[in-house]
């Protein structure tokens, strides 16, 4: 790395700058414009995911041998994409990058043969849904203490357990199920339609536009080759968690930014007692604090992603980024609605939708791995 690159710097590369412009435009036209309708409908409109193919998200990191672009994966660029898409709509954005999370995790943990086997389906013109199943339906769910188990029996693994909040679970062609074998976590690629695999749609407080599923695994059998992670190269669950946290956090940055812009305009226009309510400190300070905490969140996420990109240890940074984003995204969602008063509670305004979506930060794990 050049000396220049080692300086503290917040300047985007030329490529990132151009990509951001494209992403922002796409986000505004293709996500924000349909955000409310998709939320009400509880799903993305027909053809939405195919439209996201023009962004090339999935193909970029897939190795050339498998037919992808083979461009080295950039956590920073992926994070910026997530931020920009999240500004349009967090749940549609999550859906759009879910296959990429699967792909990234296969690249991180799969052998050459496994990459060939599991990534070649993505070399298509159409959107290919695939997902990761990590969370389990418990309040005290802990990624390092999974209850989903994998047991080797001859040339197959037998998997049992229940997973929750599996994004695109109902349409995914492949599900990377994270399960424990003798206390060690690894990923198991389970193709759709495998016997014993049950998919049930969930309804959540927010993220309506992206379908999430409860996935039950009842003696599901997959070939031994479908296990990512071995004794020599253990499955890197911590990396998956950290990069996923950053992906979700980055989306919350975009959503919180949308909130900030919305309330800024609203409080300047809304008149009470003869002048815009923004002229009152009790209102203005709430807006100021949203701006301050959003910038704080952003720099934390950027730093962790940048450390990941540079190959530096980034577990602590990603952990703390999630801590601050979970806390402040909730606060920003809450105060955003509060600033609109009763109007904020009406579904005519976007703020109530963002309030519901922003609460997913700190809940979602193992999604949007950048």
């Amino acid at each position: 790395m050049s000396e220049q690159a080692k300086l503290f710097d917040l300047t985007l590369t030329e490529e990132q700058r151009i990509t951001r412009e494209m992403m922002k435009k796409f986000s505004e036209v293709q996500l924000r414009a349909i955000s409310r309708d998709a939320d009400e409908a509880g799903e993305a409109p027909e053809g939405f995911y195919n439209k996201t193919m023009e962004l090339g998200l999935s193909l970029i990191p897939i190795p050339e041998e498998v037919g992808g672009a083979g461009i080295p994966r950039s956590p920073v660029s992926n994070m910026l994409n997530a931020e920009d898409l999240g500004k349009g709509d967090m749940s549609l954005a999550l859906g759009a990058v879910t296959p990429l999370a699967f792909i990234n995790t296969v690249i991180d943990n799969g052998t050459k043969e496994q990459q060939e086997a599991f990534l070649s389906p993505f070399i298509a013109e159409e959107f290919v849904p695939a997902t990761i199943a990590l969370m389990e339906p418990r309040a005290t769910f802990e990624p390092s203490e999974l209850q989903t188990s994998a047991v080797k029996e001859g040339d197959v693994y037998v998997i049992n357990g229940v997973k929750s909040m599996v994004l695109l679970g109902d349409s995914a062609q492949q599900i990377l199920v994270i399960a424990e074998e003798n206390g060690t976590a690894a990923g198991y690629v389970v193709p759709a339609g495998t016997e014993g695999l049950g998919i049930e749609n969930e309804k959540n407080m927010g993220l309506h536009a992206v379908n999430t599923s409860k996935v039950t695994l009842d003696n599901v059998k997959v070939p031994v080759i479908n296990k990512l992670g071995s004794e020599e190269q253990p499955f890197d669950l911590e990396r998956l968690l950290d990069l996923s946290r950053l992906g979700v956090c980055a989306m919350s940055l975009g959503c919180a930014e949308a909130m900030l812009e919305y309330v800024t305009e609203y409080v300047n226009e809304r008149v009470a007692f003869g002048e815009p309510i923004s002229h009152r400190q009790s209102v203005a300070f709430m807006v100021a604090n949203i701006a301050i905490e959003l910038e704080a969140m952003r720099l934390m996420v950027y730093r962790a992603a940048s450390r990941a990109e540079q190959g530096l240890d980034f577990h602590r940074e990603a952990y703390l980024a999630q801590v601050i984003c979970a806390e402040k995204a909730m606060e920003i969602g809450n105060n955003g609605v509060q600033l609109l008063g009763g109007h904020g509670f009406i579904r005519e305004h976007m703020v109530e939708l963002w309030y519901r979506n922003l609460r997913s930060v700190g809940v979602l794990e193992g999604a949007a791995c950048i």
């Binding site: 802990e142 300047n268 601050i324």
Partner: protein, 405 residues
């Protein structure tokens, strides 16, 4: 390219300052807190060392002139970055003593920012305190009542200043005074007043909750005379709105540089409290390894992670504000953002660490209680929390000071 790590050059300097602060300042911290106002003679050598450092090759390799092929402006990590990093390390050791180091006064910052070359020659090496606040004028600094009147070759200054940091031990005071109260802020100018000027009297040193090693003086000026060329900046009073804005803006601009520095001080104390708390907790078998999800951790761990996240975020806001300044980008909003966040987070963290460590936190055997006393002022001076929020709000909402009071 996005990178939020300190550059190797600055990191070396940071380590050096940390080493000095750890060995030379921290051991004196409790002693001079108790001795309140007593001159810390041990610091004189340190001041000399720091002056030398300031004179030579700061920024290390970063300052080398390397133009990119495209001709794009070169990104710099320079003096502002070093300033905030230095403040963090020094205040990690002791805020009170940091403020008491000769040459570290805010008056020096004002001189650096506004003085002419000739004045820099005369005042560049003095120890200058800053006198803005008056008994009736705090955050509304445009309202100063101290007057300066031209009389022949001299200015005659009359008024009372309070909360002058280092006012007792400094050699000079940069005083804000008005040339004509009826004109408002356009008539406010700053003047360098030597301590031995006739009519200047240090009337008392305040007894404070924290930063006791640093004196805080009340100073009166009674027909105090100084040479005409001791005025910083232009002596004429701007008459048009545009000119007025520019003139006062110049005075206020100093704050765009000093706010991140004070934010950095608060951040340094916060880290000191976190470091000490971690040490105490780990000795008692509490692991702080970012293992489990926040709400599966103990309340103690969860709160510690919250504090660390806030501390780190404040730190990055400070670095960004400094980075903007180093790269000649307006940073008024960011400077206030970082000061607001650092100030409140600093008080929160230091107070919480006292509680978390129980009797060890509250007692004087450790320094945690001192950190909590010292940090509070950092959310007050150089613009209170509320003033910072006001500034951020005006920027964010696009409102003038008349619209958003």
């Amino acid at each position: 390219m996005i990178n939020l790590e300190i550059s190797p050059g600055h990191q070396n300097l940071s380590n050096m300052i940390n080493g000095m602060a750890k060995s030379m300042i921290r051991p004196l911290s409790r002693k001079y807190d108790i001795k309140e106002h007593e001159k810390a003679v041990e610091l004189e050598n340190l001041a000399k060392m720091m002056e030398k450092m300031g004179g030579g090759g700061l920024g290390g390799g970063d300052k080398k002139d390397k133009k990119e092929a495209s001709g794009a402006p070169e990104i710099k990590n320079g003096m502002q970055m070093l300033g905030v990093i230095g403040a963090m390390e020094m205040c990690w050791a002791c805020t009170g003593l940091t403020l008491a180091i000769p040459g570290m006064g805010l008056g020096n910052a004002a001189i650096d920012a506004v003085a002419s070359d000739e004045q820099k020659e005369r005042f560049g090496k003095v120890f200058a305190a800053m006198a803005i606040t008056e008994p009736g004028t705090g955050s509304d600094s445009a309202n100063v009542c101290t007057t300066a009147e031209a009389d022949g070759d001299e200015w005659v200054i009359n008024g009372e200043k309070i909360f002058v940091t280092d006012g007792g031990q400094c050699t000079h005071v940069v005083v804000w005074a008005t040339l004509d109260k009826s004109v408002g802020k356009a008539a406010i100018k700053s003047f360098v007043v030597p301590k031995d000027a006739p009519g200047l009297e240090v009337v008392r040193l305040e007894k404070k909750m924290g930063i006791r090693a640093s004196d805080t003086a009340a100073i009166t000026f009674t027909n105090c005379r100084i040479p005409r060329d001791n005025i910083l900046g232009d002596a004429t009073i701007a008459r048009t709105a545009e000119e007025r804005k520019k003139a006062f803006g110049g005075v206020m601009q100093t704050f765009d540089n000093t706010r991140p520095a004070v934010g950095a001080m608060a951040n340094g104390v916060a880290r000191a409290a976190l470091d000490m708390t971690r040490e105490i907790l780990e000795k008692e078998g509490v692991s702080l390894d970012y293992g489990k999800r926040r709400w599966n951790s103990s309340a103690l761990q969860a709160e510690f992670y919250n504090m660390e996240a806030d501390y780190e975020a404040a730190r990055l806001l400070i670095l960004k504000a400094a980075w903007l300044a180093d790269n000649k980008t307006p940073n008024s909003k960011e400077a206030s953002m970082c000061k607001a966040k650092s100030g409140r987070v600093g008080s929160y963290i230091t107070l919480r660490c006292v509680e978390i460590c129980s009797s060890l936190g509250y007692g004087e055997e450790y320094l945690l209680e001192k950190f909590a006393r010292d940090s509070k002022i950092l959310d007050i001076f150089e613009g209170t929390q509320q003033i910072q929020q006001l500034i951020v709000a005006r920027h964010q909402l696009g409102l003038s000071s008349r619209e958003l009071k």
